[in-house]
Amino acid sequence: MLPENVSPNGAVIHEVTGSDSSLLETACNLFKTIFPSEERYLPYLRACALGQNRSHPNTYDHVWLMQQNHEWVGIRIFSYITTRNFGHGAYIGLTPDFRGHGVGTWLVQQTLAQLDKDAQKFGRDASLGYLVEVERPMDADNEEQREYRRKRIKFHRQCGGIILPVSYTEPVMIEGVHYLDPADLQGEEPRPMHLVLIPSKLGASLSHLDLVDFVYGTYVDVYRLRPDHEFIRKSLSFLEEIVYDRNDQA
């Protein structure tokens, strides 16, 4: 059961579950429309529709479709990290006519509510929220792109987002997935990003956010990088003494 599956302006969330879901092809087609440059990641969408997948052993995945007036208008892909207590937001996208009406904000709220339910499913009281990777304005190729990225950050901040001030590089793909061949992603490169926490009520109430937990949760549990991977060392180099202490205990 979804948290509150009808938006204030009447859009309905449908969860896409299972490889035989009648909505799976609809989700793939909408994904291609909204994220045309990401088509190579369609196998990821299909994998997430399974909920639990052997290539994503530490996450409980969701694929949502939004429908309004018999039209498919949005897609959301996110995961609860079962080994931590927060989620990872992979994609949120709406068709152009549906943007700017508060639906994205509502969808973020529904994501947080779902993650709370997931946390309870995995034996916790509530989730801390979720992390999302957002392109940095400083890396933009031109002013138009820079402005677009600023707007993305503004959207996340309006949703309560907190930019985690660590160096973060988004890996091209989860390591070792069975459904994608590295050759399928040829030409893709890791990219510098902002790592942004969208906190839940619980997350927003904390006086101390654990950066190490967030960084390891994203890199190790979602992307399945080795704990000594250069991206992790770079992210946490300024906490070096502690990070190495932690690795020594692992």
């Binding site: 907190i162 001030p165 904390l206 549990d221 180099s237």
Partner: protein, 200 residues
């Protein structure tokens, strides 16, 4: 890394900080009853981790770009007293921002809770209980440190003076510095060994 650019930035910030401090003589009185009422709630110091949250105003002091270097230059302090947090100014240029936190408490706070470097103290300290922030539109905005014991006495003239300093700085403060500064509200400092219990 462009050492010429770094040197230029450093020189520019030293000049700005000189200018801010040269206004010291004309800063209106804050009217805060620091000596009578203050318990150094905004100064990171030994023992603060065990204090109740209402007794703490700010366990973190975030310095401006190159303010750490400026303080080192002016006070002769040991560089090891500061935490250093890297921020990217551009994709190819990273600088370190000085921070004082509960793991490295303020080395300038004296036993009588007075500041040992009042003449050069950081702008973050100097501005308290005014708290600069950045609104969703990327504009400078203000909050108040509600648990400052003499907040109700704060002089409007002092407030306006400090706000003017920040307005003057705003256009030269990098966004990555604001990201760090805003995050510091959600961070009590470097982890301590006792917190280490959830390794990858």
């Amino acid at each position: 890394m462009d050492t010429n650019l770094l040197a230029q930035l450093r020189a520019e910030w030293f000049e700005r900080l000189d200018q801010i401090l040269s206004r010291e003589n004309t800063i209106p009185l804050s009217n805060l009853k620091c000596l009578e009422l203050c318990e150094a709630r905004c100064c990171p110091r030994e023992g603060m981790r065990r204090m109740a949250s209402e007794k703490i105003a700010s366990p973190i002091v975030v310095l401006l770009p190159f303010e750490m270097e400026y303080l080192l230059d002016k006070t002769g302090a040991n560089p090891a007293v500061f935490r250093r947090w890297p921020i990217d100014l551009t994709p190819d240029l990273t600088i370190e921002i000085g921070i004082l936190d509960l793991g490295k408490p303020c080395p300038f706070l004296k036993d009588n809770l007075m500041c040992g470097i009042h003449e050069h103290n950081p702008l973050d300290c100097r501005t308290f209980p005014l708290l600069p922030t950045q609104n969703f539109n990327g504009e400078l905005a203000w909050e108040l440190g509600e648990n400052c014991p003499s907040l109700h006495l704060l002089s409007p003239q002092f407030s306006e003076h400090m706000k003017r300093i920040w307005r003057d700085l705003y256009s030269v403060l990098p966004q990555s510095w604001w990201d760090l500064y805003l995050f510091a509200d959600h961070w009590t400092g470097w982890p301590i060994s006792a917190d280490i219990d959830h390794v990858a």
